[in-house]
Subunit: 216 residues, 2 copies
DNA sequence: CCTACCGATCGGTAGG
DNA sequence: CCTACCGATCGGTAGG
């Protein structure tokens, strides 16, 4: 349907969602500080002051972007969690989802939230991050423990929360923006397609040779 | 010994090393873009233009900081690698060293190198990073394979380079700057003191319950 | 949603 | 190593 048939408020909503979508991509790629409000506006075909009709300030826009991102992520992760598959299989799906749909490096997001935002914005995004990403993944680890396929904290010394953070940290390697030619580092990450196998395998079985460690 | 007894060139060297030390700490904590040259100068008790007597520009300072950092890291890691201990034990020492002495979040450094620097600075630091951090840790993984305690790439599907990057990524969780009150996230990372046990344990043995997975 | 503009701050230079 | 200053860019506002 052509844009000219929409009402004015429809225009506003469409513009707002364009800004959100554009800003999300830029913030994900480059982080809060490196993305100026003018670059966001340019990418939307707007002037920079126009952004301030839709969002109070840059922080407000960033918070809105991240909240929407995390709400979508939560829905997707809970859909994955309810599949009738093994915990291991579902964690692989989580990796695949996060790599393809949530391209935001989780350590960069944590850095931005902690270093660039006010205490109130920080509190809002902390909540959304816990609920939208940490909790759904952590419950997969907890389910693995209850099923007896994963060691509990007394046995392994690792809480499900720590396991979740470590799990997500392992993703960041595959989320970094490739650059024109970063020499050997880029060349040294050839297994992008099998990231879910690698990460979940290490998380479950590690790299030890069982013939030398399993029978002690 | 009082400063007034030093020669002029001694002054210059001392100032240069003060700048390097100060800038290192600030860049580590906050990243390239968030640290202005004026803040570095202020922290050194200098005016901002004085920095340009010692370094061509901000990038040049950043490169010098990181190169020095990586040279020290390489020396320390190679000392650890030559100890007469198991690969597992030496990897724990690597974790402890990196957490206490190289407080720079490795994903933040990669981000800065890729996003903020010119191609030539990028090439220089890529080289230093490969030589100073990746290579020493990777050779520990390779030694583990040769000793038969770790699976090789054919067996695990994970190259030693990938293992090294994942290993370092797991550190970032413990390297993030704590903030005044970041709610549950800060509270959810209580095992800072045992980071080396947790990380190396997962890297070797994973979290699977061996009674349900080892005999398949 | 635009034009026009603000003060602040950035990296960097001139000149001594 | 300083003072003084540059153009560029930042986030944000005024006024329509």
């Amino acid at each position: 349907m052509p844009r000219s048939q929409r009402r004015h408020s429809g225009y506003e909503e469409e513009t707002r969602s364009t800004i959100l979508r554009t800003a999300q991509q830029l913030f994900m790629e480059q982080g809060y500080r490196a993305v100026s409000t003018r670059r966001i506006a340019d990418a939307c075909g707007l002037t920079q002051p126009a952004l301030y009709h839709h969002f109070a300030d840059k922080q407000d826009l960033y918070v809105a972007v991240m909240k929407e991102n995390l709400v979508q992520t939560q829905a997707a992760l809970e859909r994955i969690a309810h599949r009738d598959e093994s915990v291991e299989e579902r964690l692989k799906r989580v990796v695949l989802y996060l790599l393809s749909n949530v391209q935001h490096d989780h350590t960069q997001m944590m850095h931005d939230i902690r270093q660039e935002l006010s205490a109130s914005s920080r509190a809002i995004l902390d909540e959304a991050f816990q609920t939208g990403m940490i909790a759904p993944i952590r419950s997969l680890f907890e389910e693995g423990i209850q099923q007896g396929v994963l060691l509990n904290q007394q046995q392994s010394g690792v809480s499900t929360t720590t396991a979740t953070h470590l799990f997500m940290n392992m993703l960041s390697q595959y989320l970094m923006q490739p650059t024109q030619h970063f020499g050997s580092i880029q060349h040294d990450i050839p297994e992008r397609e099998r990231a879910e196998e690698v990460i979940v395998h290490i998380m479950f079985h590690g790299l030890a040779n069982v013939h030398s460690t399993c029978h002690n």
